[in-house]
């Protein structure tokens, strides 16, 4: 059990757990729309699902500022990330390499995050969108690199207009943010290359 004042543990075996988690995230972004599962047995802090916490533990460090909404920033999630990753936590989206947002929350919009610039499109944010569920919602059809033909996803608990934001982000290609939808120990990658439309 997690007590309020203690920072929960991170990876017990950082080398191999982060390697396995990285391959999961790599598979997710290489094959957009597939539901991938993280297996690292960590107890995430309040406010982060296991998939989000594992992804950040694997990828974030002092070189990658993270944006968190205020509630997470001031709670155990902020303390946990600062302790385990040594990251700077930002209160504004600009300049964030990673961000965690609540899919149902109205703000901040995806457009607030760094889309990179034309000579360095890699300098864009990766936004982790925590969802209510990754299945059972409105069905969306994906196409683009990493997808043979098309693929459907149906996450739940996303704010109205979210898919229009995702489509607008894809319009910026080769600029744009890359998204990871997460819930529990599962995640779906949606890089900027993915074209998205409502399933007919």
């Amino acid at each position: 059990m997690q007590t309020k004042n203690l920072i929960a543990a991170g990876f017990a075996d950082p080398v191999f757990q982060s390697q396995a988690a990285f391959r999961t995230v790599l598979a997710a972004l290489s094959e957009p729309g597939t539901v991938q599962t993280v297996s690292a047995a960590i107890l995430p802090p309040d406010g982060l699902c296991a998939a989000t916490a594992t992804t950040l533990l694997t990828l974030a460090d002092y070189e990658t500022p993270i944006f968190l909404p205020q509630q997470l920033r001031d709670g155990p999630a902020g303390a946990w990330l600062r302790f385990h990753c040594g990251v700077a936590i930002l209160d504004t989206p600009a300049g964030a390499a990673f961000a965690v947002i609540d899919g149902a929350s109205a703000a901040p919009p995806l457009a607030a995050f760094d889309p990179g610039h034309d000579q360095f499109p890699d300098r864009s944010a990766t936004v982790l969108v925590q969802c209510a569920a990754l299945t059972g919602g409105e069905s969306m059809t994906l196409s683009g690199p990493g997808i043979a033909g098309s693929r459907s996803i149906a996450p739940q608990g996303l704010r109205p207009g979210f898919w229009a934001e995702v489509a607008a982000n894809a319009e910026l290609y080769p600029l744009g943010v890359d998204l990871i939808l997460s819930c529990g120990d599962a995640l779906i990658g949606l890089p900027r290359t993915t074209q998205i439309e409502e399933t007919a």
Binding site: A20, L29, D118, D122, P145, G146, A148, D178, P191
Partner: protein, 308 residues
Amino acid sequence: MNAHQTLPADDAKPAYNYAYLDEQTKRMIRRALLKAVAVPGYQVPFGSREMPLARGWGTGGIQVTAAIIGPDDTLKVIDQGADDTTNAVSIRRFFERTADARTTEATEEATIIQTRHRIPEAPLKAGQIMVYQVPTPEPLRRLEPREAETRKMHAWAEYGLMQVKLYENIARFGEVTTTYDYPVMVNGRYVMAPSPIPKFDNPKMHMSPALQLFGAGREKRIYALPPHTSVKSLDFDDHPFRVQSWNEPCGLCGATDSYLDEVITDDKGGRMFVCSDSHHCETRREAGHRGAMLADASALHLVEEVKP
């Protein structure tokens, strides 16, 4: 002052990290890989580390493999298509020593295939990862040596210079005379160097079910092709892209559809052609395919006859 490091004792195994790289370096490379996957064909700059193998000898591919490999992986390393070329042996030994890697020569058993200059003949499968060693990641470098300029050309998708160069080739020789590292257009956006694979292998990249990662250590760039990504070799309507073909089959296994290496057999013009992909050739011979020069090859010590 006493700033000297304690030298490791002779009997002490140096405390190197798993897969050599430290965790912070792996994180940095992993982040670069994810952005590379998100922008297919775009060269992501990364903080390439000094490696214990020489620059130009695969340090980019080695760093990529080191950042992705884990205990569940099976690694195949090839150079010129073959598992037993000296640098392939050296790199395979590196991962056996530093990452306790399980290795294989069988293309279909490998989860990670690190390569220099070839794509295996056996079709790649979903779930496999190709890691290419790249000497010159910038396809425009021979046309424009300045990085500050080529970066702008990619930013603005200004590839006219490349088209002009290819067309000048055609005007002079009647065809594009680039035979390896033949430039490709990725996902309709970035012109990319496929690394010095023969253009014979270019079509294998297009819509491949495998993930393809490229590491250039000396030039400090990483790029990627996600599975099922459009990879089109640059050409013209009136001069479509063509790959190499040979007039004769492999002398050892009789294959007619593989990339062949030429082996000089004497100083009187004698030569034979054999599959560059050594595993492909062996697999075919095991299945009973026999080339016309198999017996002669035994005399040349290219192969050995195993008596039951």
